[in-house]
Symmetry: C2
Subunit: 352 residues, 2 copies
DNA sequence: TTGTATGCGTTATCAG
DNA sequence: CTGATAACGCATACAA
């Protein structure tokens, strides 16, 4: 019926805009905006009408337009080296759920594990104007993050109370922290192994550049000393099953007599167990006792049934979300901190 | 030095904008825009100057502003019921990497598995103006997706060639599809089990509402018939380890004599194996042979060493990215399709 | 409570 | 090759 029918543009209809709704409702487009912002004042019946028409038209406020003026993107960036490692995927899962509940969407960024974080990814991320950033990758320093990202205050997960962080040259940048106190859980683990007669301990590490690993190793050695136990052997690792398996084979080729192995993560512990059982003909826990770290879902599976130090995932995610929300409420507040405890989950890989 | 020093605003500096760069470079802001769009024509030395100044100022084009006018958000939505299930986390990992390489960021959305997809999530997603959407969740129909989302053409993963899709009432909406031909792999699995003497088969399903499961079960039964084998017992499942374990216990409480179990996914197969070995005192593969589906990384672990039907993750992700890019190049193109093959990976859970 | 005017940061269009 | 101008969709300040 139109004078100039445009065949090409007929196919994919443009999204309804606030003006469309306003026209149909007989109000101004500001009223439409207000209808979608609960705190704005608008006569109830008018709001209801607008919302009804909006629903019919399938109208939703455009986040890009909104972000431009409110300076809030409702986007939270998550930087991970590996989405597919069980612990991280479980954390991302919980985090996404929690953030979604608060109206934020999770933007996933992957760093290449083998390579130091390049600037390109950071400037790329910056363009999205993230409201917050959580760095699970440990090869990117908070300084770099703070400096190269705009409004977002990064959240850094660290594993010791004394504020040690990578590459900080008298850093003045503000960032929030989640501190995991892993000493309690590790002490419980060592106590249990000791009670079951372990004398020769080995520590299977994660990636050497990893802060979590460095601090875990430090805490483990410290506790060994406190308990009057000899220094543990240290095995090279990288948090993967394959490396853990290989390292364990190496260990028993050379140094014999190890009867207790503490792994920096659960997946590594699985590799240790499989090497012992299927390649070395040793029994777990009778011959060698094994403890892991994380308490991922797979640790409860009967084939492994792993005794492990648990970081409570729900607690951890709640703490992260608290940090994000508080920071958004007051962008200029001083650095904030949350602390998390760990505890031992006793299953079948330490016993007699 | 300024006449009206503003103490409050001094703390968090505003992001540099195109105008800032333009002023310092002595050009118009359009030139700055062009400097960041490779296809735009701009004298080389001028572009270099702008890029250099931009780098010094830490300027990056704002995606929100850009999206507003280009109508491209560079955001790809991924809908998943569980990020933490191994197969999905591995797929998300690969997909994020691939998309990042093409300049897209991955936006993660979680659906509650136990509940049908509610409209709120969809309208919420719509606000982000996604360039594309990949639905790994199967409780949301492509019609709903197409209708309630704006420009984005959804990609649907289906498991049969005949176009069967959930809730399609003569659907006219356009959506692209990735079809997984699982029959080849399943046939190889049954052939192998048959060769090792399996006579009484059981099928452990995934979630009953899952399309993948429905088609997997149909294919399995069809192949059984083709090979002159009796109808398999069907066990209820939901893709989880725990349910698989419980279902297997139930199975051997009642119906004895099952000597071959095919699980709709690998994690389920792990549950089956653990139930057989640790709770029922049966040997795998000597007493019962087990085959899984997916070939997740954990299937190679020695404790399970699972024979399984593999979907090639890299192929799958490449196909998805191809679909996205082609659709963006031509938004009005007719529905597109990619097909994927499956094949058996032989390990230790079928043998003698 | 409501509407008008303005600006957020960018690119498309068009004129030079 | 370059610059001025308008537009994208929205929320805020201000005036009514």
């Amino acid at each position: 019926m139109s004078e100039h029918p445009n065949i090409q543009e007929a196919k994919r209809p443009e999204r309804a805009t606030a003006d469309t709704v306003a026209k149909l409702a007989g109000v101004s487009r500001v009223a439409v905006s207000r209808a979608f912002n609960p705190h704005a004042s608008l006569k109830k019946e008018k709001r209801d009408l607008i919302l009804k028409i909006a629903k019919e038209l399938g109208y939703t406020p455009d986040m890009a337009g909104r972000a431009l003026v409110t300076r809030r993107s409702h986007l939270v960036g998550v930087i991970v080296p590996d989405v597919c490692s069980p612990w991280e995927s479980q954390e991302i899962d919980a985090l996404t759920t929690a953030l979604q509940g608060e109206g934020f969407a999770t933007l996933l960024f992957k760093t290449r594990t083998d390579q130091s974080m390049d600037e390109r990814l950071l400037t790329y991320m910056k363009g999205f104007n993230l409201d917050s950033i959580i760095a699970f990758a440990e090869n990117v320093s908070p300084d770099t993050l703070t400096h190269s990202l705009g409004r977002a205050v990064p959240i850094y997960v660290s594993y010791s109370e004394d504020g040690s962080l990578p590459n900080q040259p008298g850093s003045t940048s503000v960032f929030d922290r989640l501190i995991v106190d892993q000493k309690t859980g590790i002490d419980q683990a060592v106590a249990l192994m000791q009670a079951y007669g372990c004398r020769n301990f080995a520590y299977l590490g994660g990636t050497t550049t990893s802060l979590a690993n460095t601090e875990r190793e430090r805490a483990f050695k410290c506790i060994m000393k406190e308990r009057g136990l000899p220094d543990p052997l240290v095995l090279q690792g990288d948090y993967t099953y394959e490396t853990a398996l290989a390292s364990t084979l190496d260990l028993f080729k050379v140094g014999e007599g190890v009867d207790g192995i503490f792994s920096a993560n659960d997946v590594g512990a699985f590799g240790v167990i499989d090497a012992l059982r299927f390649q070395l003909g040793l029994r777990v826990p009778e011959d060698v006792k094994v403890v892991g770290f994380d308490d991922i879902a797979q640790s409860g599976w009967l084939s492994y049934n792993l005794t492990t130090v648990k970081i409570d995932l729900e607690d951890r995610v709640r703490a992260l979300v608290r940090l994000i929300l508080r920071r958004l409420k007051d962008p200029n507040a001083p650095a904030m901190t949350e602390t998390l405890q760990t505890r031992l989950i006793v299953r079948g890989t330490v016993g007699s």
